[in-house]
């Protein structure tokens, strides 16, 4: 399995252009409601993927939630602060709506990883020097349990950083936490991840 050594980063120029496009899309959607479909078209897939990773809801539930999120986004378009990236803003709304939904349902967020995600999670293991060949096998087998066993905060920051390719500033905007706090959370999440892997490995050896 080919494990990427670092999370792919989007070039700053590409991000700038994307931000400019987003502002145009918002301006257009404010004038003409039909133009909102362009925003939906652009963000539906990534948002749905993020919500799926975050909450692993049933399909119908997920669809209803997506609708609510987009209606919320539309109603709050004027609240979009052009100092932020539109993408972070839209992720923030989705994140909050999903967390609220989970709270209402009184469910703990459930994790849903696919094959691609497993590769990405292994890149975290790489960063933590625990990705020896034997560990990779172990991680591939137990990745879901390990990740599910983590604290919610830690799991969310790792999801945003490694699965959604968000940088610290973006995660800070999405979670409405200062960048310093985000850095600390990511560090703690990695430590917890390493601890859980070590503990589970020890347990499996004992068995």
């Amino acid at each position: 399995m080919d494990i990427p050594l670092a999370t792919p980063q989007i070039e700053p120029d590409v991000k700038k252009n994307e931000a400019r496009d987003d502002v145009l899309l918002v301006t257009e959607a404010l004038k003409n409601p039909d133009a909102f479909s362009h925003i939906m078209h652009k963000y539906l897939k990534p948002l749905k993927r993020y919500i799926h990773r975050l909450a692993n809801l049933h399909e119908d539930e997920e669809e209803d939630l997506m609708q609510d999120i987009f209606i919320k986004i539309y109603k709050n378009l004027n609240d979009f602060d052009s100092n932020l990236s539109f993408s972070s803003w839209i992720y923030r709304i989705s994140h909050n709506a999903t967390i609220d939904h989970i709270r209402k349902m009184k469910n703990r967020p459930r994790l849903a990883l696919n094959d691609d995600d497993e590769d990405r999670l292994l890149s975290v293991a790489d960063e933590l020097d625990i990705a020896k060949e034997s560990d990779k096998l172990f991680l591939s087998k137990h990745i879901n349990e390990i990740f599910s066993g983590m604290k919610d905060d830690h799991r969310i920051v790792l999801t945003l950083k490694y699965f959604e390719d968000r940088d610290y500033a973006e995660i800070s905007d999405i979670l409405k936490k200062p960048p310093g706090t985000v850095a600390t959370l990511i560090h703690r999440a990695k430590v917890e991840f390493k601890k859980i892997v070590t503990e589970r490995k020890l347990n499996s050896n004992e068995l």
Partner: protein, 233 residues
Amino acid sequence: MINSKEEKTIEDKVLGMIRDEKLRPKPRWKFNVSNTVTWMIFLVFVTGISLTMGVVFFSVSDFDQKFHNTGFTETYDMTAYIIFHSIWVVLTIIIIIFAFGITSRGRNAYKHTRLIAYLTSFGCVLLACIFFLTNVTKYAENTALKNLPYFYKFINDNDRDNFPEQIILFGTVINSSSSLVIKDATGNVWYVVFSSSTKLCDSCTKAGKNVRVFGIAKSQNVFVADLVSLIKK
């Protein structure tokens, strides 16, 4: 995962809802107002409440009549002062923390956490200083008064000349045969007369006792008392 058909359904449903329910984005001014109000609440709470509470502390400390009205006088001592003030301090700190909570949920507040923390700390420190100074001043004043053989105090110097409605007279009981006669710190002799509503403690009329009298000065040496209480040494 999501497929294009599903995608289309969600898009259509959302656009349909926007058209059918004639939804429009909320106007920008609403967001600006709510954001400004959030910050204003915080600033008003932190600075305003700290200052107001400071004024309240000083007023309460200086104006013993308040204690008289609330029934504090009879059991008046430093503990009562400290408990009373502490309640205010705790309440104010709770309100400031509440304001902090509201503000930190506001838009982009997470980018100004240091500013919010500094302002909150400033409010709390200001409050603590006022609390400390008020109590220490009062304690020092009280201790000094207790150590004097005679007690004499008006609310302020102007009141002393103008005979305001409510004043406090400190003095030692000289005689209580026909009416209560008190000698104050300057050597003035006061004739204290009682009304039907005057409250009088049991041993207040004994000669040699140091007393405090709340009431109205009618002339240079006649004082109508509302309450006469002993000053504990």
